[in-house]
């Protein structure tokens, strides 16, 4: 090997610093050649190495009695009883989705699905968490339209239902949408398969789509801020092939039923490079492959290109010696041709050959465990002091509650997301017990009495105003949503979307958010079994709202006792669990009415939150709670309205006033404050005493605020009528708001 001359500009193009380069030289004991530099650059990129985030992530709670697999594998897993495991993870595909919304989002879905079936689990549910700029921007509509079609295009075709999600809108996402996709699968607890290469002489197989030049530098792109060199980076977009992935999914699950497999990993970011060195490193072994044997879609591909390609729908397998034919036969049945490209070796190195000639030779650990790790400087952001100040008394008087109510219902953050989820097959596999729009996503686990509730959440405004508290609130909300359906939160995964970590203020946001998330998960006893970090979410220097999305999985012991959000019967009592305080900081109200992100987020008492969730889970299990809906964006008023829409049952309610608010905002606070740890539930009148007793015992405030019935939404504050609308009128505003932005002509143009 004659080392190629590595100049500063070559390093720069690879996103490798001089210091990092020196470290590479000392690890190799020589200069790397260009292929090796490429391999280092993708493995040491932010995307693969988590070099800025690892020190923080290590502080998250990752263990618990149900945890079968924590972070480090392709996905996490928790025990759900009956010898089964829920395997789940969330991942981002933000940057590709901005460049090519349809394919970017589609391949994001494809990637997370592979992570799940790689573990031996059959994927049964998808969710997504999306962020876009304001819809009055045609470019944003085009992006959103493409992203939603792409998610549907992939998930629908492969036959995994997209059962829920969330969408937020803020200017900061205009040039940098967030596309986070969550997938959950089911496997036997004792048959979880790992991404390990071991057993010297075992065969390394490649299966799936052929390798092309697509996505070369994708991993480094995802870690670089957008700027006007974007055009040059454009060819880095991959096209997804859900049909190929469906075949891979079925074939891999079939192969996994034999015990011929040692380990398997998908080729995601950094493709063949990442899968070979990570599998080797996990197994304490070496991997040797010959790129000439790798199926190629284009001619004249160099080892550099083959190793760095991010072509989709490819898997790397290690097969036990002597069992190769059996494995090949299964893939053949599915018209996939597994190709033997190398062997497991004893020396712990990634050795790449081309027609037998060594073209790269690197210790696996140098690429994985020994990748650089930075404790980047952090500094309190300058914006914070001003932003955290909110003086309601100094604001103009709010419009009438009725007016505010309607504007809130029409606000895209609150309005019905039907236009989106109608494009997703959310019923295939016939497990979906609560369809989108009916409450928290819930799927049953066939052949068991159980079901799983799932929620992905984050309020970026809260995190912006106080990252520690904001991240705690995200965890609390996701867990609360799961508990509303009757699910006991048993595990979580996160996707941390932030700006440029080289800026101390961003790093501070990140560090504080991770601390908050960890603290909340510890207090609520929810281990985090894996996740994903997406940094550099900025366009030309302006960062997105810090958005640490959390996905929580909850276990429902009795699938016949699932609780939805809609009121069920005329005459039921409506009870507000939790307490409304003067908390309009960072609220949807301030955003909609005053176009501001200001103040402090709502306070959170984690013990109180835990108690509330216990009441919800018990109340669901006993059949006492007939409907439950979390109060989040828009406060009690919006929550009550949303409880009416599905069944068209009205409500009459009277809310307590909020003493602490400035006089002209007392009514507003009662209706629209976003205080945490509150849920609107409905129970049969005969159950009111039992529910309040249960709540009291748990130390959770419970107050009967009204009853279900009629065709109107009538909400008073301390006896004074504030809102009075026909359910059908309110629903029309709420249901058509997003849809109207996408009336055919408008959407496409």
């Amino acid at each position: 090997m004659t080392p190629d001359p590595i100049t500063d500009s070559v390093l720069q193009r690879h996103g490798v610093t001089r210091e990092e380069y020196d470290r590479i030289v000392s690890m190799l004991g020589r200069n790397p050649n260009l292929t090796e530099l490429g391999i280092f650059s993708v493995m040491w990129s932010e995307h693969c190495s988590y070099k800025s985030s690892r020190v923080h992530l290590k502080t998250l709670p990752t263990t618990g009695s149900r945890v079968l697999q924590g972070p480090g594998e392709n996905a996490g897993a928790v025990d759900i009883g009956d010898g089964l495991a829920a395997v789940f993870k969330i991942e981002s595909h933000n940057h590709p989705s901005f460049i090519e919304p349809y394919q970017g989002a589609a391949t994001g879905v494809g990637g997370i699905i592979r992570d799940i079936f790689t573990m031996g689990a059959r994927p049964i549910a998808l969710l997504n968490s999306l962020r876009f700029g304001p819809l009055d921007d045609p470019l944003v509509r085009r992006t959103m339209s493409g992203v939603v079609s792409g998610i549907g295009g992939y998930g629908n075709a492969i036959g995994i239902p997209t059962v829920g999600g969330e969408i937020g809108f803020d200017r900061s996402y205009t040039g940098n949408p967030l596309v986070n996709v969550f997938c959950l699968g089911i496997s036997r607890a004792d048959e979880i398969i790992k991404g390990t290469a071991s057993g010297v002489g075992n065969a390394v197989y490649y299966v799936g789509a052929k390798t092309g030049r697509d996505g070369i530098h994708g991993a480094t792109m995802a870690s670089a801020e957008f700027d006007d060199t974007l055009n040059e980076k454009r060819p880095a977009v991959q096209v997804g092939d859900p049909f190929m992935e469906k075949l891979l999914l079925e074939a891999c699950l079939e192969v996994m039923k034999t015990d011929a497999l040692v380990g398997i990993q998908d080729m995601g970011a950094a493709g063949l490079t990442c899968s070979t060195c990570e599998m080797g490193s996990r197994g304490g072994a070496g991997v040797e492959i010959d790129v000439a044997r790798v199926p190629q879609r284009e001619t004249g591909m160099t080892p550099y290109e083959i190793m760095l390609s991010e072509s989709q729908e490819r898997m790397l397998l290690v097969v036990k010696k002597g069992r190769e034919a059996e494995v090949e036969r299964i893939f053949d049945k599915w018209d996939l041709h597994a190709v033997h490209i190398g062997e497991v070796t004893a020396d712990g190195r990634l050795r790449v050959k081309e027609h037998g000639k060594v073209v790269a030779d690197i210790p696996n650990r140098a690429l994985t465990d020994e990748a650089p790790m930075y404790r980047r400087p952090m500094a309190t952001p300058g914006y914070l002091e001003t932003a955290q100040k909110l003086d309601l008394a100094a604001l103009p008087a709010p419009p009438s509650p009725r007016e505010v109510f309607k504007r809130m219902l029409a606000s895209p953050g609150i309005a019905s997301k039907r236009w989106v989820y109608r494009q997703y097959d959310h019923m295939v596999r016939t497990n979906t017990l609560l369809l989108p729009g009916m409450g928290t996503a819930v799927v049953r686990v066939k052949e068991t009495p159980r079901a799983l509730a799932m929620s992905v959440d984050c309020n970026g405004r809260f995190v912006y105003l106080d990252p520690f508290l904001g991240a705690q609130l995200a965890v609390a909300e996701a867990a609360r949503n799961v508990a509303c359906a009757g699910g006991l939160p048993i595990g979580a995964t996160n996707c941390l979307n932030f700006g440029n970590p080289e800026k101390p203020e961003i790093m501070w946001q990140f560090g504080r958010a991770v601390e908050g998330m960890g603290a909340a998960c510890r207090a609520l006893d929810i281990p985090i079994t894996g996740g994903n970090v997406s940094l550099y979410n900025e366009t030309d220097g302006s960062g997105v709202l810090p958005t640490p999305v959390i996905g929580v999985v909850g276990l429902i012991e009795d699938a016949t006792r699932v609780v939805g959000r809609a009121f069920r019967s005329e005459g039921d009592a409506v009870v507000l669990l939790g307490e409304t305080r003067n908390e309009l900081g960072g609220s949807e109200f301030l955003h909609v009415v005053h176009d501001q992100i200001r103040g402090l987020p709502p306070q959170l008492d984690l013990a109180q939150e835990a108690a509330l969730q216990r009441v919800l889970v018990e109340g669901a299990a006993s059949g006492m709670i007939r409907s439950a809906h979390d109060c989040a964006e828009g406060g009690v008023a919006v929550t009550l309205a949303e409880c009416c829409f599905d069944t068209q049952l009205g409500v009459t309610a009277d809310l307590a006033g909020v003493a602490a608010a400035a006089a002209k905002y007392r009514e507003t606070a009662a209706l629209f404050s976003e205080s945490a740890s509150r849920v609107v539930v409905s129970v049969a009148p005969a159950q009111v005493a039992a529910l309040t007793a249960m709540a009291e015992k748990a130390g959770v405030p419970a107050r009967v605020i009204g009853r279900v019935g009629g065709s109107r939404i009538q909400i008073a504050v301390e006896g004074t009528r504030a809102i009075d609308e026909l359910v059908s009128d309110a629903e029309r505003i709420w249901a058509t708001s997003i849809e109207s932005w996408f009336a055919q002509r408008r959407a496409i143009a």
């Binding site: 492969i158 036959g159 859900p242 599915w334 109608r422 494009q423 019923m427 295939v428 016939t430 055919q744």
Partner: protein, 248 residues
């Protein structure tokens, strides 16, 4: 009864269909790989939903060449009941076992939701247990469900009472608002002239338990069982008697 559920590469409602037949109805089911050349003695054949061959090119276009389709054609020609659901319907159209073709939804969007279909004909093996005019609340999930046929063909379908299912509103009217995809005459499902081959876009197999939102789809599966009972001659099912049952 024994059901055959054909599995094309890319089928994704195969397991859902199998689940209904086996677990909900307690019948015998076999999943049959598209390269097989036998229906393994099945009494009824279902082509399930999904995206056979990715739905690349045109929905159902490539699947029709699968080896098993010759057996399905023979089975159908002999009077055996064949049901195509969603993608299965699209395959039947491409294979020429049913007339017409599918266009993109007029919204150009995939659409998944519960809606209503009216059962117009009860003399097919898949609707025998229904009341004429019965309304079923079952979901759709497709991007290409906009049924089209030449006007003469549509007229003939209507004349021959081959339109088996039509999209209707919750109160039963055939209206444009109730039409989710632009299908001509709100057509949701049709049968062949012999009435033993039926295709429909909505998914009855997704609506066979109240837990998942509706059990209306059971009517379709119970019809098959009824057809089976009435077609039995001693203990063997004889295809020869099938048309007689239908024409009763």
């Amino acid at each position: 009864m024994k059901f055959a559920v054909v599995v094309f590469p890319g089928s994704n409602c195969d397991h859902d269909t199998e689940y209904v037949a086996r677990t909900v109805l307690g019948q015998d089911v076999e999943l049959i790989w598209h390269k097989d050349s036998s229906l393994k003695g099945a009494d009824a054949v279902i082509l399930p939903g999904g995206f056979a061959h990715g739905d690349y090119l045109r929905t159902g276009a490539i699947a029709r060449f699968s080896p098993i389709m010759q057996e399905v054609s023979k089975f159908a020609a002999a009077g055996g009941p064949v049901l195509g659901i969603c993608n299965g319907f699209q395959v039947l159209l491409e294979a020429g076992l049913l007339p017409g073709a599918m266009l993109r939804n007029r919204s150009l969007k995939f659409r998944c939701e519960f809606l209503h279909v009216g059962v117009e004909q009860t003399d097919t093996p898949f609707t025998m247990a229904c009341r004429p005019g019965q309304r079923l609340r079952i979901p759709i999930a497709h991007g290409d469900g906009n049924y089209y046929a030449e006007p003469e063909v549509v007229a003939q379908l209507e004349r021959n009472r081959q339109v088996v299912f039509r999209y209707v509103s919750a109160s039963g009217e055939v209206s444009d608002e109730a039409n989710p995809n632009g299908s001509v005459n709100n057509i949701a499902g049709i049968c062949n002239e012999a009435r033993n081959v039926v295709g429909l876009m909505p998914h009855p197999e997704r609506a066979c338990e109240l837990a998942v939102g509706s059990a209306d789809g059971l009517a379709v599966f119970e019809s098959i069982l009824k057809w089976g009972r009435e077609s039995f001659d001693g203990d063997t099912l004889t295809m020869a008697t099938a048309p007689a049952v239908l024409n009763k």
